[in-house]
């Protein structure tokens, strides 16, 4: 009988082969791909990893090292800077 906390589909089910047969294991799902906050394009340089995996990564490996890195794509970032310059 499945325990109550595993009855929802929030966790993915993985079948693991064991010497005694196959066993069902429940694992956390990966988050969706990071997208640009302006145009919605998939961001490059942002890993698709779980929280625990991200915790073991350095900060430089989690997002590109530029302004708005990990939030906007490079094209939108350039446009944003240009808009800032024009406003000032």
């Amino acid at each position: 009988m499945v325990s109550g906390r595993f009855k929802s589909r929030s966790k993915r089910r993985v079948m693991v082969k064991t010497p005694n047969g196959t066993k069902r294991v429940y694992k956390n799902r990966k988050p969706s791909k990071a997208t640009c906050g302006k145009c919605g394009a998939v961001l490059k340089g942002v890993p698709r990893a779980t929280k625990s995996e991200l915790a073991h990564m350095p900060k430089t490996a989690k997002r590109p090292e530029r302004p708005y890195g990990g939030v906007l794509c490079s094209k939108c970032m350039r446009l944003a800077i240009k808009e800032k310059i024009n406003k000032s």
């Binding site: 090292e65 530029r66 302004p67 490079s74 970032m77 350039r78 800077i81 240009k82 800032k84 310059i85």
Partner: protein, 178 residues
């Protein structure tokens, strides 16, 4: 548009959003820039020109550019020193063998001397044991010899007694016959 002295804003890379000045025009595509950004070669596509210009020579140093930025643009540039990589503190594996050896030697000497004394004592004990054994054997031999002698003497005495008794019997018999 992109001539020497033109103030620009860098759009791409990790220096994006920072102001810089064109120091030198390399070709139609690349220029040398300096200012808030690092002093480096840059593509014209990665620059957004502003309507400001500075009087900068082609061979201007980084310090001159900083002073110009302070005076005319009122932008203070923080000078960052390149970080020097610290030498790794490797774990020094101290060889504890030498002091151990010395102690060992001392201990060995002690043990050797103790062993020697023990061996000597054991030898003395064994000698004493052997002497005791030999004494015991000699005593046994003596007792045996004594016992044999005593037995022989007993036998002799007994034989003498028998003879005497037999002689007495014979004499009594003779006397009876007579």
């Amino acid at each position: 548009m992109f001539d020497t002295g033109r103030v620009c804003v860098k759009i791409a890379g990790r220096d994006a959003g920072k102001t810089c000045v064109i120091i030198k025009k390399i070709d139609n595509v690349f220029v040398m820039i300096d200012g808030e950004t690092r002093r480096r070669k840059c593509n014209l596509k990665h620059l957004e020109p502003l309507d400001k210009t500075l009087n900068v020579n082609e061979d201007a140093s980084h310090k001159e550019v900083i002073t110009l930025f302070k005076e005319k643009l009122k932008i203070e540039i923080k000078e960052t020193k390149p970080k020097k990589a610290k030498p790794r503190q490797r774990k020094q594996h101290i060889k504890k063998e030498k002091p151990i050896k010395e102690t060992k030697k001392k201990s060995q000497q002690k043990t050797d001397s103790a062993k020697k004394t023990e061996v000597k004592a054991a030898k003395v004990e064994t000698k004493a044991k052997t002497t005791k054994k030999t004494e015991i054997k000699a005593d046994k031999k003596e007792t045996k010899e004594k016992g044999i002698e005593a037995a022989i003497t007993k036998e002799i005495k007994e034989s003498a007694k028998d003879k005497e008794s037999s002689a007495k019997k014979e004499t009594t018999k003779k006397a009876e016959k007579k």
